[in-house]
Symmetry: C2
Subunit: 618 residues, 2 copies
C-alpha cells in the first residue's frame, strides 16, 4: 500500500487549529531559586514578611537623637553624650531617630563630636521601606530575571511557583543509535529529540526523552500511550512521512485521532497533529532541518498558549543576494547568512537540503517566503530573522567563493575577536560575481587564465575599472586522489569524480586535460559533479569513484594517496574600499600570522612562501 498525506493545511491554519482544539493549561511547580532564572511565575508572589522589619542604619556612623543635634555647626561643634555606633544595616535602637555618617563625626575616647545637625530620620531605613508583608513582589506570567533572584531570597521566597509544560519526546526508528555511538552504514544518530529538548528546555518546558523505539507499531503505541500519561504534550520524532515504516499517524489514530497530517511548510511538510486523551501529540518529520522548522514555527509558538515566554526573533531588512523560487501554496523557510557590507545589510540563502544539519550551524538568520509568494528576486529587500544577537550579525564577515578547509581555520583564528566568518561555498566564479555585486567582504579564488596567471585576468574581465586587492592565502597543490596512487595519466582507465562547473579546480582540471590533449568524454564519470574537495575524496574513499582531483588536505584527511598535478595561487580578492573594514583587516592579519603558517605546514599541501603577499588589480 502506498500511503498519501491527508489533505495538507496551511501553517496559519495549523496554528489556529492547535489554539482552538486544546485548552493548554500549564502545570505549576515550585522550583528552587538556583533553577528559576528565566522561568515564568504561575501566580502572583507575595512577600512573606516586611523588609526591613525594623528601622535600620542606612550608613556606617552613629545613631543619635536628632533633637540633641540642633545647633551644631563648624563654629559650634557639639559633643554628644548619648550615641550608638552603627554600621550599615544595624538596627537603630528605639531611643534614636537619625544616623550621622562616620565621615562627619570626630571621635575621641568613645565620645563623638559633630559639626552639623541631623534631620529626623536621616540615614535611617524605615521598616517596610523596601516591601511590606503581604505586598505583591511580582505578578503572574512574569519572567524571572537573574538579578531578581536575590530579591526573592530577601522576601522569604525560596521556591517560587513557576509555569511548566511537561513535554514527552519519543524518538522512533530502527535505524537510530544514541549520540556517542558511531552509526554503522544506514544508521543515524538520534539527534531530533536532543535538539528538541534543548530548544524546548530553553523555552521553559520540562522535557523527558524516552528511549528509542524501533519501527514496530505495537512498540510505538506503547511508548506513545505511556508518554501521553506522563506529559502535557507528546512529540514523536519521525515516522510521520509516507514511507513503508511510517507508523506514527496510524498509531495516533488508533489511540486517539489525527487532526492534521501534512502542513504546507518547507522544510517540514510531513508533520502530524493528533490528539490522545485531550492532549496534543505532534509527529515531527525526520530530517533535522524539517524538525527544526516544525519546532520553531509550530511547537514553540504553540507553547505561548501555555504562558511560556517565546521571544519573537529580531528582524533586519536586508538585500537578498540570490533569487529564491518556490511554488505558491506553502510557507517556505530558508536558512541564510546575514551580514553588513559597507552600510548595506545583505542576506544569502544557504543550500536547501533538509538533511544538511551544518546549514543550521552556519546560518545566522532565516527568511520566510510566504505561501502566497512565488519567491524573491535577487537584489530585493527581505526580512531576515535573526538566529544570533543583532550585534553578532553586524560583526559577520561574509566570504563567498572557493572554499578550502583553511578558511575554517582562519574563522577559528578571528572568532575570539568577536568576528564571525561566514563562508558561502560558491566556487571561484561565484565569489567573483558576489564581489562584482558587492555582496561579500572578500572572495577566495584560484582562477587560472590561458597565460598561466592566476585571478587577475578574471577580476579585470568581470570587474573592469574596480580597485581590487589580492592577498595570497597560500599556493596549494591540486592533485589526483585515489585509493591506489593513480596519477593524471591513469584517468582514462578509471572512474572519475569531478568538481562542479565554474569551480577553480574544475577549470584547472579542464586546462590540464587540454594541455595533455585528452578528450574529457573519454574519462568515465567526468559528468558526475560534487561541490567540495572533501566530497571528491569521500567519493574515492567510498569506492564510488577511483579518482578525482582535489587539494592535498582533503586526501590527507581521509588517508588517501595524492599525486600532485599543479600548484595554484589561492588568493583572497576584495574591493579596496573595504580594505579598512576591521573585520577584513583582522582576516588579513590572521593570514599573515605565524599561527596560520604553522597550520598550513601542519596540514600539508600548501606552499607558504607567498602567504600574506598583497597585490593590486587595476
Amino acid at each position: 500500500m502506498v500511503k498519501r498525506y491527508l489533505s495538507v493545511i496551511s501553517l496559519d491554519d495549523a496554528l489556529s487549529l492547535l489554539s482552538r482544539e486544546f485548552s493548554c493549561i500549564p502545570s505549576s511547580v515550585p522550583v528552587p531559586l538556583e533553577g528559576v532564572c528565566g522561568r515564568i511565575t504561575s501566580g502572583p508572589i507575595f512577600a512573606r514578611y516586611s523588609v526591613p522589619e525594623i528601622h535600620l542604619a542606612a550608613m556606617d556612623g552613629i545613631a543619635v537623637r536628632s533633637r540633641e543635634t540642633i545647633g551644631a555647626s563648624e563654629q559650634h561643634p557639639l559633643t554628644l553624650s548619648k550615641t550608638a555606633r552603627v554600621n550599615t544595616g544595624n538596627v537603630v535602637p528605639p531611643e534614636y531617630d537619625a544616623v550621622i555618617m562616620i565621615e562627619d563625626v570626630w571621635e575621641a575616647d568613645g565620645i563623638y563630636t559633630i559639626r552639623k545637625s541631623a534631620a529626623p530620620w536621616q540615614h535611617v531605613r524605615p521598616a517596610g521601606e523596601d516591601l511590606a508583608e503581604s505586598e505583591m513582589v511580582m505578578p503572574s506570567s512574569h519572567r524571572i530575571r537573574a538579578h531578581e533572584i536575590g530579591a526573592l531570597a530577601t522576601y522569604g521566597i525560596t521556591h517560587p511557583e513557576v509555569i511548566t509544560v511537561r513535554v514527552g519526546l519519543v524518538p522512533t526508528g530502527s535505524e537510530l543509535v544514541l549520540a556517542g555511538t558511531r552509526p554503522a552504514p544506514g544508521q543515524v544518530v538520534e539527534s531530533n529529540t536532543v535538539m528538541a529538548k534543548a530548544m524546548l528546555n530553553e523555552a521553559g518546558a520540562t522535557c523527558t526523552r524516552y528511549p528509542v523505539v524501533e519501527d514496530k507499531p505495537e512498540k510505538i503505541r506503547d511508548a506513545i500511550a505511556n508518554a501521553v500519561r506522563e506529559n502535557d504534550i507528546v512529540i514523536v520524532s519521525a515516522g510521520s512521512s509516507a514511507g513503508t515504516k511510517d507508523y506514527t499517524a496510524d498509531v495516533i489514530a488508533e489511540l486517539g485521532e489525527v487532526l492534521v497530517h501534512g502542513v504546507a511548510i518547507k522544510p517540514g511538510k510531513p508533520v502530524i497533529i493528533g490528539r490522545i486523551d485531550k492532549k496534543p501529540v505532534i509527529g515531527l518529520p525526520g530530517y533535522p532541518l524539517s524538525a527544526l522548522t516544525v519546532l520553531r514555527e509550530i511547537v514553540l509558538p504553540f507553547l505561548r498558549n501555555y504562558g511560556l515566554f517565546i521571544p519573537e526573533p529580531g528582524c533586519i531588512r536586508a538585500q537578498i543576494t540570490t533569487a529564491v523560487a518556490k511554488e505558491i501554496g506553502s510557507d517556505e523557510f530558508v536558512l541564510c547568512t546575514l551580514g553588513k557590507v559597507g552600510s548595506r545589510w545583505v542576506v544569502s540563502p544557504q543550500s536547501k537540503g533538509a538533511g544538511v544539519q551544518m546549514s543550521g550551524v552556519r546560518a545566522n538568520a532565516y527568511i520566510r517566503v510566504p505561501k502566497a509568494s512565488e519567491g524573491f528576486d535577487a537584489g530585493g529587500e527581505v526580512d531576515a530573522r535573526l538566529m544570533v544577537p543583532a550585534s553578532e550579525a553586524a560583526n559577520a564577515l561574509l566570504i563567498t567563493g572557493s572554499h578550502d578547509p583553511v578558511i575554517d581555520y582562519l574563522a577559528d583564528l578571528i572568532r575570539p575577536q568577536g568576528i564571525t566568518l561566514l563562508s558561502t561555498h560558491a566556487g571561484s566564479m561565484g565569489g567573483i560575481l558576489a564581489l562584482k555585486k558587492d555582496e561579500c567582504h572578500a572572495a577566495p579564488t584560484h582562477l587560472l587564465a590561458d597565460d598561466g596567471s592566476y585571478n587577475t585576468a578574471y577580476l579585470e574581465k568581470y570587474l573592469p575599472g574596480t580597485d581590487l586587492d589580492l592577498v595570497c592565502i597560500a599556493e596549494r597543490q591540486q592533485g589526483i586522489v585515489s585509493r591506489d596512487g593513480l596519477s593524471f595519466r591513469d584517468l582514462a582507465n578509471h572512474t572519475f569524480i569531478n568538481r562542479q562547473r565554474g569551480s577553480g579546480t574544475r577549470m584547472l582540471f579542464d586546462y590540464e586535460l587540454k594541455k595533455a590533449r585528452i578528450d574529457p568524454t573519454l574519462i568515465p564519470g567526468y559528468e558526475r559533479e560534487v561541490t567540495t574537495h572533501i566530497a571528491v575524496a569521500l567519493a574515492v574513499k567510498s569506492g564510488e569513484a577511483d579518482a578525482g582531483m582535489c587539494v592535498f588536505s582533503a586526501a590527507k584527511a581521509l588517508g588517501l594517496p595524492f599525486v600532485p598535478v599543479a600548484q595554484e595561487r589561492y588568493e583572497l580578492a576584495f574591493r579596496k574600499e573595504h580594505a579598512d573594514d576591521p573585520r577584513l583587516s583582522a582576516l588579513i592579519t590572521a593570514i599573515r600570522s605565524p599561527a596560520f603558517r604553522e597550520i598550513l605546514n601542519r596540514l600539508g599541501g600548501y606552499e607558504t612562501a607567498e602567504t600574506g603577499q598583497q597585490r593590486a588589480v587595476r
Copy 2:
C-alpha cells in the same frame, strides 16, 4: 580608628586596570550536550566521522539504475526489472545510482512501473554531503545555540569542550541568614551571592557559593584563601565599606594586595579590587542594588576578557520624565520604568535607595549618567538600557499616581496578556502632573475638592481643555490605623505617622482636620511622612507611631484595628486620545471583570457599586 576609602578611581579606569593586571585565561571543561546550550566553545570542534558515511535515499521510493530508466514517458511507461524499495535515510545499495519518489511509481506484485526517466544521482544524499570526517563543525569562541546541539550529536560530539570561569562566592557578615530563614531584627537574608550566582551562571561562569562567614578577620581570611585555591575569580560579598566590621580590604591586603578600594560609581562605590596568587578578588558592596551595579558594570564586562559572551543591553532613546541631578565625578546608574505613550518613549527614574531591592524588580530599564555630567533635565532625551526584551518594554503600561495594593492585583490580571503594568508611586498630584505632560497612560487619583467632589475639579484646573475620562476603580475607605482601635478624635493624644504632601490621603486628612477645626501642629508626628499606605500601617505595627491614616487593606494585611473616617472615589484618569490603546483597554476590562470585584470584596474596605463606572471631564 575611623577608616577611609583609598583614593577612588573612575569606572573606566577600574575596567582598564582589571584588563591590564590580570591575564584572564579561562578553564576548558567537557560538558555533556544536555548542559551545553549557550556555552562558548574553548577550541574548534571537528566532525568525528563523515555524515552520511555512505549514499542514502533522500526520498521514500525505489532505488534504480538511472541508465535503465532512459526512455520512460507518459506514452511509454517502463517496467523495471531490478529495483529496491527504500525509505528516506535508507542506504542506496551500491548497484543503484538514483531514487524515484514513491508518488511517481506504480506498483503491482512488487514490480514497479515508471512514466519518467531518472537523472543519475537524483534523490540520493551522497556520502559526506553534510560534513566530512575531520571538517570543522564550529570554531572556538562560538556560542552554542539550542538547535545546534542536535548537529553536535550527529557529528559524534557528546561532550564539547567549552569555556568556563570558576567563580567562588564568599558571603561574609554575622548578620546574615540563609534564604528560607526568617531574619530576626537586624538580621538580613544573604541575597547578594544568590543574585551573583544567577547572573554569573547565566553568563556561563561556574559559581560556587561558600557558607556564610561571620565577621571575624581570621575566618574571613581562611574562607578567601580557600576560595582562591579553588577558583579563577573570587567575589567576597560585603565588608568592603568603612564600617567597624569591614575587614575585607585588610584581609585581601594580608593575603595579597588591594589594587583599588572605591570606584566612582553610584550605587556601588565601596568596591574592592584585589589580587591574591595572581587571581582577581573582588569585594562587593553589601547593598543589593550596589552589588547589582558592580556585578553588571564591572564583573560581567570583566568576564568578557575570559571569552564569555556578555551581551550589550539593548538601548532605546527616550524622554526622561523627571530630572536626575548628581555631582560631577562619578558614573551614576538609575533604575527606571520605560514605556511608550502614544508614539513617544518615556523613561521615569525609580527611587534611588540602594537597599530597595524592589526597584530592581519594578525596573525594566536603567540609565547611565556619565561622570562628566551634572545630570539630566526633565524632558530631555536619554539612552534607556533595556532589562527586558524591547517587545516587552513596548507593551509596558505606565501608571503614575496614587498607589493602592489593588493596582498590583490589576497588574496580575493583565500580565498574562503580555502587558506589564509599571506603577510609579507619585501620589495623586504626581499622577495628574504626569498626565498633563502626557508621560503616563493613566493616573490613579483620589483628590477631594472643597465642594466634596472627587478628582474632576483638579483635572479641570490642571489640564484645562483636555479631553479626559475617569473610570472608577473602587470607592475605598480611609481610616485610622492603630494598635488600640483609636479613632480620628483620639489623635491629639497619640503619636501620628503621616503621608507625604500631595498624596490624596494627606489631602483628605488635612480636609478632615480642617472640618473638625483641629490644628495640625497639635498632632505629635504630623511632620513625619512616609509614602505608602502599608508604610503607615507598618510604622504603627512597629510601635514607631500610635496611629496613622491609610486604606483598610493595609491595616488588615498587618492585622491592625481600623476605624473608618471617610470614603473616597479612587479613579483612573486618562486622556481620551489613549482610550483605544489596547493596554489601557485591557486594564479597564480588568477593572470591570468579576475577578477584580471578587478581589475587592476579599480584601475588604472597598465599595464596588461604582467600580468600572466611566465619566468624562470637559
